[in-house]
């Protein structure tokens, strides 16, 4: 009787994954290029309206056409990429600081601090992240910085729990016991033994959180509570375009495609990082 084949090859989707890192790099490279050079390339103003050119299809002047207000879709997409990527990366960084760093400090400061701080993370986790970010954002007011902070807080518990799991696993490892017998101070154990594994785990988790932060940002902007009206983030573009989708489908399709491509890229990257940080697989490869 065979319960299951224990084979390394996982079929079609697996082979997409094996080429995943290359695909991810191409997409992310393209996004960064678009964000940095896009507006300069088209030489157009993302906010300039031109009612005469409303809902126009792509042309030599407007590479991806114009939206319902005659604004250039390509330029808006490029500026949106810049804002969206910035918010997502900054929010993830904030989440790492609020989650992993504060969490580890709390763990190091004793059980009472740990219980209190992780109790706080439990509160955050007991709310849908979108709803929490919405409420925080309304409390903090619109803008790039509040948006970043609100998303950062919503995703902080994930990093806190990753950090705690690594800490617990490492502090019960044999080599940490051996280091304690050598009278290694906690800081030395942290930097020599815990930090490398912690770093890997957090980077892997970040690859999962960044695309979620991008989506959250887009949804919030779509709801109209993210950035100030008029700022061309992807979510804002989608919200504007969804009402005019019949006449200007490209204005909707472009930001949706951009959003999908970037989450796909991060998903592939995260997959690669996860496999790369698995010591068993690394051991076998070596």
């Amino acid at each position: 009787m065979r319960i299951s084949p224990v084979c390394a090859d996982e079929g079609g989707a697996g082979s997409v994954r094996s080429r995943g890192a290359a695909i991810a790099v191409v997409i992310l490279g393209g996004a960064v290029l678009l964000a940095l050079a896009g507006p300069a390339l088209s030489g157009l103003d993302p906010l300039a309206q031109n009612i005469g050119g409303a809902n126009m299809p792509p042309s030599a002047a407007h590479w991806l056409g114009q939206d319902h207000l005659g604004r250039d879709i390509f330029t808006r997409l490029a500026v949106g990429t810049r804002l969206t990527l910035f918010v997502a990366l900054a929010a993830t960084l904030a989440a790492i600081l609020i989650g992993a760093v504060l969490g580890l400090v709390a763990i190091a400061s004793g059980r009472i601090a740990e219980t209190l701080v992780f109790g706080g993370y439990d509160l955050v986790r007991a709310m849908p992240s979108i709803l929490l970010a919405m409420t925080l954002l309304v409390a903090l007011g619109p803008g790039i910085l509040p948006l970043t902070l609100a998303i950062g807080i919503a995703y902080a518990p994930i990093f806190a729990h990753v950090a705690r799991a690594v800490w617990r696993r490492e502090s019960s490892a044999g080599y940490v016991a051996a280091a304690r017998v050598m009278a290694a101070p906690p800081l030395s154990i942290l930097s020599r033994h815990v930090a490398p594994n912690l770093f890997g785990a957090i980077v892997t988790q970040a690859a999962i959180v960044v695309p979620r932060a991008i989506t959250t940002e887009s949804v919030l902007s779509f709801f109209g509570i993210g950035v100030t009206p008029g700022t061309p983030t992807w979510g804002r573009m989608i919200a504007d375009a969804v009402r005019h989708a019949e006449t200007a489908p490209l204005a909707l399709a472009m930001p949706v495609a951009a959003l999908s491509a970037i989450t796909l890229a991060f998903a592939l990257l995260g997959d690669r990082l996860r496999l790369g940080s698995d010591p068993l697989r690394r051991g076998m490869a070596a």
Binding site: R2, R168, G174, A177, A178, M182, A183, R192, P279
Partner: protein
């Protein structure tokens, strides 16, 4: 003497995993009612042979050969040919009793399923089997979940499940290895009794020659997938003909090894009435066995062997000695220092070091050997970077490894090499007392002998005191000047090794020593290395 009828025979059994041939053209014969001992170290292919004979090979394995079982020819490469054989004509009992039961079902339900009888009949048979396997309360056992039962009892239940359909052949794959010595002896006794009553043949697989010597009529020795020697148990164990068997027989430590060390005047370790209470269990924390009223003393240069079964508290005492835990009562001093006192931790670390059972776990897999060896030196600010590197090379040389191992990662080393590196690291600070917690338990027999010899040599050369913690009486006999026997956290007997190991007074010590399997005839050949 006429040999009884052949029950199982195979001329050329091979098992391949990928391109590797883990079992290589093995020929075996087992007669009805006979016990064949199959001996080998890890990676010798003995378990794969057992799986092939039970029709239990994993899907990745490819087998070749025809197994003849009482008149039937069974192709080893066709799993479906074994469907009517498994359980019914061949029963298997495994090494780890906890792993061989589904954790979600009661023991009784799983044995009843193995009976393949109608519900009521299966239940009755389950109770009868449990009783026959020496479980005093079959009803309670049947209703228990595996995790609620002790290892020895669960192994008896595993035996009951294997015998549920009265197979003609019982394959026992290291059935006693995961158990304490006294329990081991009981299981071996039970196997013999069941065999006498039912007349089944037993294929007894073990890494432990001494255990095999107790049960087997004939012995086959395996190495690298091949059988290198077969013969009656008495002949193979007393006069091995193959070189590997000779090494294997000689690896069994017999008596003291290494030169004796003249005891010094200072006291290396002194504990008076040390107690250690159960800490409330916390997430991720190691559950420690309790200790009560432990008073021991190790003089400089002396090796104290601390013997006990699992849960006796012997490892807890080791952790107290290096300051990884704090006694809840009494006092423990190491060279006059309190080991768990943070103020003197650095001074303590230079006097006492530790070698752990799990060498692989005690080395950080991300760091090269040289980094692990330099860690204690760097922590204590010894030497410049270059000097530390030279010191690391010298330490490796002391444990019998070359400089080529400096730039290796732990997973690139063998188990024995890893333990050598761990020992080298424990010597980096030139400790005057070395705590060795089951340092050879996880290793193969031949490697065990090498590591014990290495530890004895190092101790003699450095005139170092040692706390040698082990469940293995033979290993303790090889190393220790004094012996303390721990039972449920208390010292039941304490004194000179020669006295305790040969004329024990305490009842538990006697039971423990009596349970230890020893080779019937001591090999005359000298220790191989």
């Amino acid at each position: 003497m006429t040999r009884p009828a052949r029950l199982l025979s195979v001329d050329s059994l091979s098992v391949k995993i990928g391109a590797r041939r883990v079992v290589d053209r093995v020929a075996l014969e087992i007669a009805t009612g006979e016990t064949l001992g199959l001996v080998g170290e890890s990676g010798s292919g003995k378990s794969m042979t057992a799986f092939a004979l039970g029709g239990l090979l994993p899907p990745v394995a490819r087998a070749e050969g025809i197994v003849h079982l009482a008149g039937d020819a069974l192709p080893a490469d066709r799993p479906e040919a074994w469907d009517p054989i498994r359980g019914r004509r061949v029963g298997v009992v495994f090494q780890d009793p906890y792993a061989s039961f589904d954790p979600l079902r009661t023991v009784g339900a799983q044995i009843a399923m193995a009976c393949h009888l109608p519900r009521e009949a299966a239940r009755a048979r389950t109770l009868a089997l449990l009783e026959e396997c020496g479980l005093p309360e079959p009803g309670a056992m049947a209703g228990a979940y595996p995790h609620q039962v002790s290892g020895g009892q669960l192994q008896r239940a595993g035996l009951a499940a294997a015998l549920a359909q009265a197979p003609a052949l019982l394959i026992a794959d290291e059935p006693t290895t995961a158990l304490d010595a006294t329990v081991q002896a009981q299981i071996v006794e039970l196997l013999r009794r069941l065999q006498a009553r039912h007349g089944m043949a037993i294929l007894f697989i073990s890494h432990d020659l001494a255990v095999v010597a107790r049960v087997a009529d004939r012995v086959a020795v395996m190495k690298d997938g091949r059988i290198v020697e077969t013969g009656t148990a008495a002949r193979v164990l007393s006069a091995p003909s193959h070189a590997y068997t000779q090494v294997l027989v000689a690896s069994r430590p017999a008596g003291r090894i290494g030169a004796p060390v003249r005891p010094g005047d200072t006291i290396a370790l002194e504990s008076s009435s040390v107690g250690f209470a159960y800490a409330p269990r916390r997430m991720g924390a190691v559950r420690e066995a309790a200790l009560a009223d432990v008073s021991l003393r190790i003089r400089a240069g002396v090796c104290l062997g601390l013997v006990g079964e699992s849960g006796s508290g012997k490892s807890t005492f080791g952790r107290l000695a290096v300051g990884s835990a704090r006694p809840s009562s009494g006092s423990l001093r190491v060279f006059g220092l309190e080991p768990s006192d943070p103020a003197s931790a650095r001074a303590r670390a230079r006097l006492v070091q530790m070698v752990f059972q799990d060498a692989a776990g005690s080395l950080n897999p991300r760091r090269m050997v040289v980094a692990s060896l330099m860690e204690p030196l760097a922590l204590h600010g010894i030497g410049t970077r270059g000097e530390r590197q030279d010191r690391a090379a010298a330490l490796l040389d002391e444990v019998g490894l070359g400089t080529e191992h400096l730039r290796r990662y732990p997973h690139e080393l063998s188990g024995g090499q890893r333990q050598r590196v761990a020992i080298a690291r424990s010597l980096a600070l030139d400790p005057a007392l070395l705590v060795c917690d089951e340092p050879v338990t996880a290793l193969d027999m031949t490697i065990q002998a090498q590591i014990l010899k290495l530890l004895a040599d190092i101790r003699a050369r450095r005139a170092m005191a040692m706390l040698f913690i082990s469940h293995d009486i033979a290993a303790v006999e090889a190393m220790a000047d004094d012996v303390a026997v721990l039972h449920r956290g208390r010292v039941v007997e304490y004194g000179a090794a020669s006295r305790i190991l040969h004329a024990p007074v305490d009842g538990y010590t006697r039971a423990l020593l009596g349970a230890v399997a020893r080779l019937p005839v001591r090999s005359a050949s000298a220790v191989a290395r």
